[in-house]
């Protein structure tokens, strides 16, 4: 997967590049809008990450001209300003997502993966399986090591999310928004409680442990050997 990061602030740009590289992406970095447009037009990328405020062309201009040239690559905007009209403008121009600075890197990573998954979504799966955990999405039933596990609707939704995005660190805010429809950063530890309960049902009595905590960042479900 090849990404382009256009960010004029050198520190932010370097860290973004490093972080995304370590997450397994092939990342090119430019620091001006003009370079960003040139790269976007001449190379094939799977995703563009554009800062709105850049010298030369701003992010919107880059997006507009890239779209005009027939590039329909997904675009994620980074912006330090959070104004409704900015969002509307970005979305009207065909941006796919936006993130307001300061943002958590785990949040960015989760959004990037969502955007990259869009379009080439694997056809509707009916079974998800990790190690000896087996989840039947149609029957809404989970078993581990052949033992039936009773889950509430929300617990099932949480498990499904973790399974579908297996191996990814999911920030708490993303979990809250996907499972409970809470689209704002809440300062309570509801997600911790929810994860603890899910762990009690699918991990406590079994080995190996599947749900992992990425401290300060979020949670991840994966079988240890695939790491």
């Amino acid at each position: 997967m090849r990404l382009l990061v256009a960010e004029d602030e050198p520190k932010t740009g370097t860290y973004l590049q490093q972080g995304l590289r370590e997450a397994g992406f092939n990342v090119d970095r430019v620091t001006t809008g003009t370079d960003a447009l040139q790269h976007a037009l001449s190379e094939e990328y799977d995703l563009l990450i554009l800062d709105v405020m850049m010298p030369g062309l701003d992010g919107w201009e880059v997006l507009r001209m890239a779209r005009a040239a027939g590039k329909d690559v997904p675009v994620l905007f980074l912006t330090a300003r959070d104004r409704v009209e900015d969002r509307v403008k970005g979305l009207e121009l065909g941006a796919d997502d936006y993130l307001i600075k300061p943002f958590a890197f785990s949040e960015l990573l989760a959004r990037v993966r969502t955007l990259l998954r869009r379009g080439n979504n694997s056809p509707t799966q009916t079974h998800l399986k990790v190690a000896d955990l087996d989840v039947d999405l149609l029957k809404r039933r989970a078993t581990r090591a052949g033992k039936r596990i009773d889950l509430t609707a929300k617990e099932f939704a949480l498990l499904e999310l973790l399974l579908r995005r297996r191996g990814e660190v999911l920030p708490k805010s993303l979990i809250a928004s996907q499972v409970w429809d809470m689209n704002f950063d809440s300062d309570t530890n509801v997600i911790e409680v929810a994860i603890r309960r899910l762990r009690a049902k699918i991990d406590d009595d079994f080995e190996p442990k599947l749900i992992h905590t990425a401290r300060g960042m979020g949670y991840m479900l994966d079988a240890p050997e695939s790491k």
Binding site: D82, R83, A104, W180, N183, D185, R215, G216
Partner: protein
């Protein structure tokens, strides 16, 4: 007239009033004097006519008219301005004293006691005509008494002239007087203006003293002082807000710096570095959230948060939130109870955020094993929502300021719950107010209740 200064207006009005009164007085005086002179003249003419009639009564024949002449002259000659003419029925002048006057013929035929007036080029006459018949006479004699009143008219002309001059002078004088009076009368107003003009952000504590201000201005000065008080309060709050921001950010920044420097001061094993980075991450996240919250409040202050206008069923909003918070409530053996239903017009995401703050607050302060009650009530005018939780009550002096930024009823709680920067309730209030709603808190008898009231959306169905 609209742009004239108060002083000019008052002096003009004063001048108009004085002039008006003088004109009325002058006209009345003029009229009364004329009337008075007229009746005096009439009196005199009637008296003389009566006397002449008496003398003529003794006349038996026109032939001995000459005998009466001395008698008539004695009666009439004493009066310089009076002229008497006696004519026979053929118009022949029998008697004229002091001499004949050139009068138009029409005055010879007026009868009765009517007084007539006649203007010559220079002279004015007032007269009386009467037909007199002596005993044994076939045809009456015509008696005309004419009074020369030219002197009176001169007097009135002079009076009017002087009156006009006097009027102009008094108008000017009254305008000047009015200006002086208005100026001194408006002195307190200028004083108030001067004080108001001298106000600045630094002197918001000053108040305009009420004691020397006249009654009419006291209302204005009180309102002005009240406005100053509100400004002062807002200003102090704003200054405190900036100071609070600095303080709230300084604490985590100083933590970050100290911690990082200590860790870097010597070589450590990898776990220690990791531990330091994790701890930094926690602090940074808290700062990031605080910045988000402050930006939201700044936008709310500038009227930049414009909620979407959808009709929202509150029970659904509460339902979603309770499903989320029930996890936490169960942990502490707290029950979440929801009653009633109602609609509001607004933005689901914002309402989620606002009510979520109240619920997480309630969860924080409710003792284990108790119940938090959320009730919705829709009346014909409004939709009410209350969040009630048992627990330690909030002292009354804190209730008012509970929704202020960075305000914590218990300062010690700051350290206890570091993730709570004290902006939650301020954000809740901003959101409720952006929905044209009100929020307030009551706390007594072991129950703390947050009340919210929203305008009822148009055309919503009665729920109860």
């Amino acid at each position: 007239m609209r742009r004239l200064s108060l002083t000019t207006r008052l002096s003009l009005m004063f001048m108009l009033a004085v002039t008006g009164v003088l004109i009325v007085a002058g006209l009345s005086f003029n009229h009364l004097s004329r009337h008075h002179f007229k009746s005096l003249d009439r009196q005199e003419l009637l008296e003389k006519a009566h006397a002449v009639q008496g003398i003529l009564g003794e006349l038996t024949s026109l032939d001995n008219f000459a005998a009466l002449k001395p008698q008539l002259s004695a009666l009439l000659g004493a009066h310089r301005d009076l002229t008497a003419i006696i004519k026979d029925h053929n118009g022949r002048v029998l008697f004229a004293d002091p001499g004949p006057v050139n009068l138009p013929e029409r005055f010879s035929v007026i009868a009765g006691n009517a007084i007539w007036e006649w203007h010559d080029q220079q002279q004015v006459f007032r007269g009386l005509t009467r037909q007199v018949k002596g005993p044994g006479q076939e045809s009456p004699l015509t008696l005309m008494l004419v009074l020369d009143v030219t002197q009176h008219m001169y007097f009135f002309d002079a009076l009017e002239r002087w009156f006009a001059i006097g009027l102009i002078i008094s108008a000017l004088v009254s305008a000047a007087l009015g200006w002086l009076l208005a100026r001194s009368g408006l002195g307190p107003l200028r004083h108030v203006t001067a004080v108001a003009a001298a106000m600045s952000a630094k002197s918001l504590k000053e108040r305009i003293p009420l004691a020397p201000v006249p009654l009419e201005l006291q209302q204005l000065v009180s309102s002005f002082n009240a406005m100053l008080a509100r400004l002062d309060e807002a200003f102090v709050r704003l200054s405190n807000f900036s100071a609070d921001i600095a303080h709230e950010l300084r604490t985590p920044v100083s933590n970050l710096m100290t911690h990082t420097e200590v860790v870097l001061s010597r070589k450590r094993n990898i776990e220690d570095y990791e531990e330091n980075l994790y701890s930094n991450l926690d602090d940074l996240k808290r700062m990031s959230r605080m910045i988000d919250d402050m930006l939201f409040l700044a936008k709310a202050d500038n009227g930049l948060i414009i909620p979407e206008h959808q009709k929202i069923a509150l029970e659904e909003v509460i339902g979603t939130l309770c499903e989320y918070y029930r996890l936490l409530a169960d942990e502490h053996n707290i029950e979440l109870k929801v009653t009633g239903s109602g609609e509001v017009q607004g933005d689901v995401l914002m309402l989620h955020r606002a009510i979520s703050n109240l619920l997480s607050n309630a969860l924080r302060y409710t003792p284990e094993g108790h119940t938090i009650t959320v009730s919705i009530n829709q009346t014909t005018q409004c939709t009410q929502l209350t969040v009630k939780n048992p627990g330690e009550i909030i002292p009354p002096e804190h209730l008012e300021r509970l929704f202020d930024r960075f305000y914590r009823a218990d300062p010690a709680r700051r350290e206890g719950s570091p993730s709570n920067a004290g902006l939650g309730l301020a954000i809740t209030r901003s959101i409720i107010e952006a929905h044209q709603g009100k929020i307030w808190c009551t706390s007594a008898d072991g129950q703390t209740v947050f009340h919210m009231q929203f305008p009822r959306p148009e055309g919503s169905t009665e729920s109860q």
